[in-house]
């Protein structure tokens, strides 16, 4: 159950007691319920699915996955040369 798209929170407000927001996806603005991520702030990216925010984008990715990549790239360069691409 997966079709989640990241978008940027541009406005936060209340509708009948429930936390709502406007989220911008490259020019398409959707009303998204933030009740599931009440800590989200304007300017942050949230993962949106079926009109609700699943989670707030974390910076963790920058450190963990890029670390793996850097190791791999260094390794490939050493063993396969600069332009080691797949056919």
């Amino acid at each position: 159950m997966c079709l989640g798209i990241p978008g940027k929170v541009i406005e936060i407000y209340d509708v009948d007691g429930t936390l709502m927001s406007k989220v911008d996806f490259n020019g398409v603005v959707q009303e998204v319920c933030l009740a599931t991520t009440p800590e989200a702030e304007i300017g942050q990216f949230v993962l949106v699915h079926a009109g609700f925010s699943l989670n707030v984008l974390s910076d963790q990715e920058a450190t963990e996955t890029l670390k793996i990549l850097k190791e791999l790239e260094a390794f490939n360069k050493e063993y396969f040369g600069e332009d080691a691409s797949l056919s």
Partner: protein, 358 residues
């Protein structure tokens, strides 16, 4: 003593209301109301010398109206789009452009259109006038005339506001063989611009998507651009507009008609960023979304640069690009190269495209 007498101006007996604002069943009866509707609303916007003669049919003569020595091309289309008005267009513009484009896709010059209007009782005449005006604007841009028309009125609830059906007549040089079966191995496959805009604009206009965007339908008459293209590249093999079913379905149709394998490359297909986001949000695939102002042109490889130049010079083809090639003869299939370099097959749209949540 002066007495105030009534001014005796205006009607003094209860005349029937003129029903200027809404369509009533009487408008479809063929009597006075019908004639008033035709004269004051339809002819006001769509009128021309032939239509205004008021005959049951239009006489088109070889010589004055149709040049000698050409083949005739005829096309017909029905329009039931809902809602009637959307960002970038409406059912009126769609009905003119749809038929103009269909005729042009055989390389023909469209000239004469017919139009049938099925109106629902209660439909706003103000809306009807807006739509007719839109049709006139599109017809003028395409340089076509509506020479025969008809209108009927259904009871409330028996139709959906307004349905329009249009037919178009044009002519084409007898030595041109532009059709779906003419693609040849080695040909370049060109697309005139970004896809998916019309499908999203209409979906958004329905108002239940919970999002707003600036996405506009691309609905446009392409006959002008096609004339320029054929002038530059008379050897054009195939022209088709990717309407219902989208780019993928249309290319599969052509592949089967021509009995070839067509291969297109994902990175080359233009899609506007906001259209892509809208499709992602809705779980829809832009390759299968309808377009009403785009064309696919399949031309000999050596003519591709000239073809693109002709398209770029026209306002509806500024973003034209080559998206693939005709690879080999086969029973007809469409291949798609992904950004990872892998290849997969694309099929026609099966049934209705349902938004997915996974």
């Amino acid at each position: 003593m002066s007495e105030q007498y009534p001014s005796l101006e205006g009607p003094q007996c209860p005349m029937p209301l003129s029903h200027d604002e809404q369509i009533v069943i009487g408008h479809g009866s063929g009597g006075v109301k019908t004639h008033e509707l035709i004269k004051n609303v339809f002819q006001k916007h769509l009128g021309n010398a032939i239509l205004n003669l008021g005959n049951d049919a239009a006489l088109l003569q070889f010589g004055p109206e149709i040049p000698d020595g050409k083949n005739l091309v005829v096309s017909t289309d029905a329009h039931i789009v809902s809602p009637l008005f959307f960002n970038g267009g409406d059912i009126g513009r769609l009905s003119i452009c749809g038929t103009v484009n269909d005729v042009s896709m055989l390389g023909a010059i469209p000239k004469f259109l017919t139009a049938t209007f099925i109106l629902e009782e209660g439909f706003s005449i103000n809306s009807l006038e807006k739509i007719l005006l839109s049709m006139k604007t599109a017809a003028d841009e395409a340089d076509v005339k509506i020479v025969a028309a008809d209108t009927k009125v259904t009871e409330k609830g028996k139709s959906d506001g307004l349905f329009i059906s249009t037919s178009g007549i044009g002519w084409v040089d007898s030595d041109l063989t532009i059709n779906g079966a003419s693609a040849k191995v080695g040909d370049a496959v060109l697309l005139s611009g970004p896809i998916g805009n019309h499908g999203i604009a209409v979906a958004e206009a329905r108002g239940n998507l919970g999002f707003q965007s600036q996405i506009r339908s691309d609905v446009a008459p392409l006959n002008g651009m096609i004339a320029e293209l054929i002038k530059a590249v008379p050897e054009t093999h195939v022209l088709r507009d990717p309407t219902r079913g989208g780019l993928a379905t249309t290319l599969v149709e052509i592949a089967k008609q021509s009995q070839v394998t067509i291969k297109i490359v994902e990175e080359l297909i233009p899609i506007d960023q906001d259209v892509r986001s809208a499709c992602d949000l809705l779980g829809l695939d832009p390759l299968y979304m309808a377009n009403e102002g785009k064309l696919i042109a399949i031309v000999p490889a050596e003519d591709a640069p000239d073809a693109l130049k002709a398209l770029h010079a026209h306002k509806y083809g500024r973003e034209a690009v080559q998206i693939g090639v005709v690879v080999e003869e086969s029973s007809g299939q469409l291949l798609f190269k992904t950004p990872l370099g892998t290849t997969r097959r694309l099929d026609m749209l099966a049934g209705e495209m349902l938004p997915r949540i996974c």
